[in-house]
Amino acid sequence: MLRSADSGLSVFPAAGLQHGHGHGDDGFGRGRDTRRPRWSRYARLLLLQMRMSAVSAMQYRADFLLKGAISLVWLSVALIPLISVFHQRSTVRGWSFPEALVVVGWFSLMKGILEGAISPSLTSVVEHVRKGTLDFLLLKPADAQFLVSTAKFEPWRVMDVLGALAVFAYAFRELGHAPRLQHVALALALLVVAICVLYALWILVVSASFWVVKVDNLSYLFGSLFDAGRWPISVFRGALWFAFTFIFPLALMTSYPAMALLDRLPASTAVAALAGGLAFASLARLVWSRALAFYTSASS
């Protein structure tokens, strides 16, 4: 457990009532932990948040298992359209069945991360804004965006990740060869960027809720748009292709990592994707800070 604050006054450094700014506090306003680096503080906080979510999820064990089972049902059901399509044709826009399976695997992986780690916390922010209880969160001596993003996890979504790995194993067995190490490395790099982009998209949606309060059902819209990510991006043409590559970058989240694993990703696209993803994430941080400033400024 976190040690209790040595002094309530240390939460408000600007008030000048604690032992001064020049004493090298670690950014939390607590003089005692000056030796501990900030990142290890946050790492411990993250582990604590995750443990709390896991404990409260495990309290309802039957519920936990049921939700895990439902994840698997959704995955198998989602494969049926894919199987139906490839039952009729052996390739679609240059993608064969095992290759399309790799895209589905990435989709399942990203969906597990989205609904397990990102959505639950960020939907609770919208609730907080609506009820006005976000202020309690903002008072805490840690970065608001971090606290808000790690508030809640859904551990049974790990089933989606396991399902994704099973799909990968099957797909590469069908292809007859395993992905080479450098491809896996590139795919993992794209995975990190994909998570950043997904998270950034969500932060943008949640920041919107500071201005337009009623956005809670946007999480359903988000999820349903994300569903289109189970198909390789080359299937879409024209306006849809543009939208899913640059506006709601599904291509980056599911197709590009799959293409990296399959050695189909040109180097220029990979570099552009990495750079674009990181730029997007910094934009989101900027918008969040502005939104928070707006929220805390006037008479809220």
Binding site: Y60, A62, D63, L66, K67, I70, V73, W74, V77, I80, P81, I83, S84, V85, H87, Q88, R89, V92, R93, K214, N217, L218, Y220, L221, G223, S224, L225, D227, A228, W231, V235, F236, R237, L240
Partner: protein, 278 residues
């Protein structure tokens, strides 16, 4: 609070409902208009048919798949989206929330049976939905109008009956699933499994004749066929008149089954709910 099942009480239910319905419809309509932004967002979440259309359109670019060419896919998915929108209800979410929050008690105290009130609320959303569906319907007629089979008045009559039937079947299925909230902690989980099955077996994601053979067979025999495939394929002429007439009988048989099942679970659930001081 009335839970009686005698003939006189059913008749009085219906009489009260008949007098209350117009007002309930008006209230429901103004609710929908007031929350139109949310309504539009909910409409936008049902975008799977358009994604599937893009995919099948790509697949069919080299040649038709079974009975489906590119134009047939356009007709199928645009009409499928419209029919889905016009026949779906959100009763399970509402019931689940009201049961867990306990606000169902307020509804049970009213002289009008809660299910009548719910159905009025859902029917009241239809005008707004028709407004939203109209542009897509116009696009459907413009792009694939020659595929529509409702020029024949007999087919039109069967289609209209099938649309009403689909709405009722889905409504009573929702009553059944929603009433499970009286007994189960995670009735929403059961509903999500049902949604997954609906998406696959009712022809929402993939036309049932293009499904893998054994899945297609299960789909044809299941009530899901009556919920979407039947009205849809009748509309775009994939079911001939004798088959459609027979399927109409099947649909109303399923409605009778789901209605009695749903209502009996509802009644048992209400008894349990009230017994616990709800």
């Amino acid at each position: 609070m009335t839970t009686g099942t005698t003939v006189t009480s059913i008749a009085s239910h219906l009489r009260r409902a008949a007098s209350a319905y117009p007002t309930l419809l008006r209230v429901g309509l103004s609710e929908v208009v007031a929350y139109r932004a949310e309504f539009i967002v909910w409409i936008l979440t049902t975008n799977m048919p358009f994604v599937m259309l893009a995919i099948w359109h790509a697949v069919a670019s080299e040649g038709p798949i079974g009975r489906f060419g590119q134009k047939d896919f356009i007709a199928y998915y645009l009409a499928g989206w419209a029919i889905r929108l016009l026949t779906s209800t959100w009763l399970v979410w509402e019931l689940s929330m009201e049961i867990r929050a306990g606000t169902l008690s307020a509804r049970l105290l009213r002289p009008l049976h809660p299910l009548f009130a719910f159905s009025a609320q859902h029917l009241a959303a239809l005008p707004m939905r028709i407004v939203v569906v109209t542009p897509v319907a116009v696009a459907l007629v413009w792009l694939a109008g020659d595929r529509l089979a409702i020029g024949d008045p007999r087919v039109l009559a069967i289609w209209l009956a099938s649309m009403a039937g689909a709405w009722l079947l889905i409504f009573f299925t929702m009553v059944f699933l929603g009433s499970l909230s009286f007994f189960l902690e995670s009735a929403i989980g059961v509903f999500e499994v049902w949604l997954a099955l609906f998406a696959v077996l009712s022809g929402y994601l993939v036309p049932s004749e293009l499904l893998p053979p054994w899945v297609g067979r299960v789909a044809r025999l299941s009530p899901f066929d009556s919920m979407l495939s039947f009205p849809l394929e009748t509309l775009i002429g994939l079911r001939d008149l004798p088959t459609a007439t027979r399927d109409l009988g099947t649909q109303w048989l399923y409605i009778a089954i789901m209605a009695s099942l749903g209502l009996s679970v509802w009644r048992r659930g209400v008894k349990r709910y009230v017994a616990f001081g709800g």
